[in-house]
Amino acid sequence: MKTPLLLTAAPVIEHEQLKPDVYRLVLAAPSIARQALPGQFIQVRVNNLAEPLLPRPFSLARISADQGTITLLYRIVGRGTRLLAGVPTGQTVQLWGPLGQGWALPAAGGILSRQRAGWPYPPDRAVMPVYVAGGMGIAPLLPLAVEWYRQGQPGLLLYGVRSGDQLALLGQWEELGVKVRIATEDGSVGIRGTVIDLLAATCLTGRHPVIYACGPWPLLKAIHQIARGNYWPCQVSLEERMACGVGACLGCVCRGKIPQVDPIAEPVPWRHVRVCREGPVFWSDEVVWDG
């Protein structure tokens, strides 16, 4: 383990309903807040009954080392998130983390949180972060934007949601100086369409962009294809059904074109890599997108 993992009973500091089915949850977890890197996630359990049994993974949507808090942004999907939504302020939830590999940032003057693959530009080259979020995919991108902001580069957010009334917390992005472009499926705000259309319509020539994308698999696949067609380096944060979240169960794999680790073994076109451990963030061309 590079970063120590922590298991803690974290008190709920704030719990706010942003939209009918979207909540913002602030938890006191000082040591996790100190360790966590943008793009990492935690596992959460509301009680210790045998049902629901498994923890639920959530990205860190805000990491406040000074305040000793972390923030989750989540949508109610099923019984786990419904149970979570009912936890009142003051009560604790079990959580452990920070888990997985976060977003890659240039090493110079900042952090390069992922060991495996290098940074695609020379360390001193000014690059532009382009955040591409589909729906709740917005969650893990904000702490990354905070990091880039510290490095003097606010960048651009392309954000796709079903309808304008789903937009939340845009103020936080604007505070960081991030330029925000919106796509809605019903055209109620921004362009009518998806964030794929937004990205396709965005001219990034000469800007040395790095794409950071999070959302459902088909969206990420399309973004990868656009990025690849334009020779833009692109990172994606994947979601997969998880059990342990720590790399032990091998439940959460995707096909990864990871560098050959075993000098003796035959070269293989892909390996099953763990989303919870080698991911959730990958360079998009490390992922086998078909099949």
Binding site: L5, L7, N48, E51, L54, R241, C244, L250, G251, C252
Partner: protein
């Protein structure tokens, strides 16, 4: 003080709490939460001769008080395990039980020979019950003849303790237990997962890419406990009990049903410290009940 030591078919464990294969990776994944050296033993993820990539995702699905998995024995192969994972586990000082999976009777023999030759391997758990691979795996565990054949072949290649892991997906588990014991098993472990499935009604497709998967977790505990109870009456060798152990009370139930030691599996996913919480709870139970040696619990409900 409570004497926690138990003897699992020649493998002496400082306490009866071990990890269920496939739920604890190669140990290091939980090392941040659990001082491995405090465990009775660590049983590693199932190993095959060659590296394997396993089944496609989705591989896990939550079910009421349980989960389904269809990992399909993804593993780096026994050689890379020995080179890359075993040394640090051995350094941690915890006995390592290696879970072996052959695709033929001969392959089981070969795997056993490799374990015999490897100093860090404390005992072998012979998995004849994996429901998630198409050839081999569970098939061997479904008939007394094939179960005995695998056991015999493993026995021929090693003098280390051989624990044969039984499938619960059979009409009469005592018949299989008797067969493997007669064939030379030093202990039996049970249960592996129950074959199950889940369907996504939205897409009208099975949730798991592999269609079927193995059911584990608290949901299966009553079945596991019953089988341990039955096998305890049927054979003389010690039992490594598992299947849905979630609390110290569950572990005590398994011991009373006849287990000499227990393995904690799915509970690790729900609580990364589950093994130690259970160990501490078991010791506490003994203290409270005035039990001086934990092995007194074994079979107490008979």
């Amino acid at each position: 003080m409570v004497d926690l030591q138990v003897n699992l078919g020649g493998l002496v464990l400082k306490n009866p709490v071990t990890t269920a294969s496939g739920t604890f990776g190669f140990g290091e994944e939980y090392a941040a939460f659990v001082d491995l050296n405090r465990l009775g033993a660590v049983t590693v993820k199932g190993l095959t001769l060659e590296p394997r990539e396993g089944n496609p995702a989705p591989r896990v699905a939550e079910t009421p008080a349980g989960m389904l998995n269809a990992i399909g024995l993804q593993n780096p192969g026994i050689y890379r395990f020995i080179r890359e994972y075993l040394p640090s586990l051995v350094t941690d000082g915890v006995p390592v039980i290696v879970n072996i999976n052959g695709y033929s009777v001969e392959e089981y023999g070969l795997l056993a020979a490799i374990c015999e030759a490897t100093a860090g391997v404390a005992a072998l758990e012979v998995n004849i019950s994996c429901p998630n691979v198409r050839q081999g795996g569970m098939q061997f565990g479904l008939s007394p003849q094939s179960a005995a054949a695998v056991t015999q072949e493993v026995r021929r290649h090693t003098r280390k303790p051989v624990i044969v892991k039984l499938s619960p997906n059979v009409t009469d588990i005592t018949e299989i237990a008797r067969a493997v014991t007669a064939a030379g098993a030093d202990a039996v472990s049970l249960i592996n997962t129950l074959l199950g499935m889940a369907i996504d009604v939205g897409s009208r497709r099975p949730v798991l890419a592999n269609v079927f998967g193995g059911l584990s977790g608290p949901a299966v505990k009553p079945v596991a406990l019953r089988m341990v109870y039955q096998v305890y009456q049927a054979v003389k060798v010690p039992i490594l009990g598992m299947g849905g152990i979630y609390t110290a009370g569950d572990a005590v139930e398994f011991m009373m049903a006849g287990a000499t030691a227990v393995a904690v599996g799915t509970a690790n996913f729900a609580n990364p410290r589950a093994t130690l919480d259970i160990l501490e709870g078991m010791a506490g139970f003994c203290l409270q009940e005035g039990i001086t040696g934990i092995s007194e619990l074994t079979g107490a409900a008979h």
